[in-house]
Amino acid sequence: MGTAGGGENRDNGQAKLGRHLTLLTALPPALLTLLLLLYMPDIAAGRTISFGFVWIADLGIAFRFYIDALSLLFALLISAIGAFVAIYAVAFLHGHPQLRRFFLYLYLFIVGMLGLVLAGDLITLFVFWEVTSVASYLLIGFNHTSAVARRSALQALLVTTLGGLCLLVGLLLLGSVAGSYEMTQVLASGEAVRASPLYFAILILLLIGAFSKSAQLPFHFWLPNAMAAPTPVSAYLHSATMVKAGIYLLARMHPVMGQTDIWEWTLTCTGAATATVAAVAALRQTDLKLALAYTTVIALGTLTMFLGSDATIVIAAAITFLFVHSLYKAALFMVVGIIDKQAGTRDINKLGGLGQSMQITFVIALAAALSMAGFPPFLGFIGKELKYEGALAVASEPALVATAAVFANAVTVTVAGMVALKPFLGRPNHVYPNVQEAPAGLWISPLILGGLGLTFGLVPELVNDELITPAVTAILGTSETIELKLWHGLNIPLLLSILTFGLGIAMYLGLSRLRDWLSWDFSHAPTNADQLWDKSLEKLRLIAALQTNLLQNGVMRHYLTVIFFTISLVLTYALIRTGQYSLVFEWPHLNLKEWAAILLTVGGALMAGAARKPLIAICALGALGVGIALIYLFFGAPDVAITQLLVETLFLVLVAAILPRLPVFSPGRKIRFRSRDAALGALLGLLVTLTILVVLQTPFDSPASNFFKEASVPQAHGRNIVNVILVDFRALDTFGEIIVVFTAAIAAVTLLGHRLRRGKQ
């Protein structure tokens, strides 16, 4: 991480460095992509790779990676698109003072995502899961001077962390049920997991984790807000990767957790609902980036919906769509970024006529949008056809799924139009007259991505044989064959496609009217999750403030009361909980001397308690001190008695020395408090008395005391046993004690503001 930039030279150096970094930054992910591609044939053939080391042997936790076709597919998408985003970002953020920080975060993110999809251990998976949360937090908050960015970052962080923690619990439970955290073993123990009584809990926890990360209902609200991030980030995060971590998790857990009704129903319904809600929301947007973001939520909903099923065709549809979506969505976000950068706005109502000046961008936008809209011969078309095929094959609710899919896709078509047509067609906008084509650094990445969409559409075997089919196989655990082709013949999916196009185009044409129609105010709807978020944070602060005002209210007497009350409470409980003891209390024969001492002590105490003036209390304390000293004296403790008297005397001398500077009268307390305090005091006194009496019921034998009596003269050569204990048997206590006294003295002096004198004055 770079140090703070100050001065022109440093900025220049950084800019130069940035230019040189162009290739370098893209190099690691690109190399990784190549590496993964090398492994691809092997993996596709059914081999898996596993490596790592034991992290914590005693807990069976390992830092382990596991590559099968599913993880390979994700890893490839992440690293490849990562490389493109890196290239794009260098151009996009050119000259930005914190460029290096940006790349640091980006790499952190890439590493997190790769680790997540390649994890071969549940804990490893979670570690990387959280790394992506943190990295996305930093990326979303990259424009940290903007309050909106900070809010969005916090929102994303909290939502995904909440989900992440649930996931952690789920993973821990899963690990304990499966008997291991190792991925291969977990994957193999589906039967046991589904039979476990904890299955439902695990499922819910994992789903909360996955849904929060993948912005499913009801956690969907953070993703559009995350658009506060710089454009390349949005592109990366919200197309290729982070949100798909949840999808990956669902796919990964499919063999273990799937194939149950509850799995299917939950996923299907959540996915469908998410897709529908997001579709409506997408139509209402005028910000291109937001509109795209909502289509991402649509896509995620669709994917979730499909992953609920265990039919081959449905899973194949999901995986293909996932692949397609990554390509076009990344490209489109980049295009929006270009428009934003060149035209200075992303507002769809202000944009228009850019096609002439930005021809390359226009072409790219078209290519990606057509793929998104699912026009042949783009890969998107194949994806969509498969989607419909899959939707109809969903066992539980084919009609619902199909309807949701059609509606979602129609909206996608509309948004594709919004992104690829609206800004470029029509008359040039006079507000932004001098719009230039973007530099190559900006358009090269989307161009390649858009081109790939077309290429793979024309030659689907490129991706099918070694990526999609093996991935589906990995999810379902059975060897599957899937055909990807542009022309399936005239069938229901095709009809649905046509319906989709018609609907989508109609909506695009009537977009402004549609938006007016949809423009009822969501702001007061209880379902507005974003506002709910604000409200719940506000509630949280309120509750926090309330509880703080209640507990930590700054009044010392309140603190003391609570402490004394707590002690009384637990002591009462401890004393009565067994309810099986009899206290033997004999009034012993105390002689008059002893009564005198007791009377003096008790009288002194009561008088000090009743005294309103400190002075009277002090005199009472003097009497009390004498009484206690006499008690010590009468029961064979002259050393203690003398010390008590001396200390009492010196204490009173000190008090008298300080008293002239203190107020004569004390503030009184209300009668209500007085009686409450007295009751509390009486209760605590009673409890302590009882405790002492209870302790006294046990016969006493102190080997230490006996030892001291016997060893005092022969071994320690002293006749005052108490003193021998103090200076020999337990000299360490005394040593500590003199340190306390010494410290107290110098502390008091420094407190009173005196320097300790260094010599005679």
């Binding site: 000190l654 050569h717 005052n720 020999d728 003199i738 002096v749 005679k760």
Partner: protein, 139 residues
């Protein structure tokens, strides 16, 4: 406090209290007394001094700042505790140098136990005095 009675009596009493404190210190191992008590008595002597003749007089009579006295006491006590390192004993173990007579019956001896008690005496004396002087001084 400018009182003829108090000031006159203090001449005798301070000396008396100091002597008495040393007496309590030295016999503490075998009779009631010891470093604490002795230290407190010695501190009382100077408290009386300060009350009768003023704090400056008491301080200059003491010559050493009481804080340093206390620190010296800690040092002495620590020294007596670690003295055992030269005799292969554990920390704070008793070491006796018997000059005459027998340890258990009397005679004259030097022991780290006594040194320790002297340390305690000085700490208590110095600390309490420090406190008294400080509180007296508050303006």
């Amino acid at each position: 406090m400018n009182s003829l009675v108090l000031q006159s009596a203090t001449r005798v009493l301070v000396a008396l209290l100091l002597v008495f404190s040393v007496y309590m210190l030295l016999r503490g191992h075998n009779h009631p007394g010891g470093g604490f008590i002795a230290g407190l008595i010695a501190a009382s002597a100077f408290a009386l001094f300060a009350m009768a003749w003023g704090m400056e007089a008491a301080q200059s009579a003491l010559r050493i700042p009481p804080g340093n006295l206390a620190a010296t006491g800690v040092l002495i006590a620590a020294f007596s505790g670690v003295l055992a390192v030269f005799f292969e004993g554990a920390p704070f173990s008793g070491q006796w140098l018997q000059l005459t007579g027998h340890k258990n019956t009397g005679g004259i001896s030097i022991s780290n136990v006594l040194i320790f008690d002297i340390g305690v005496y000085l700490v208590v004396f110095g600390s309490v005095l420090t406190l008294i002087f400080a509180l007296e001084e508050v303006k």
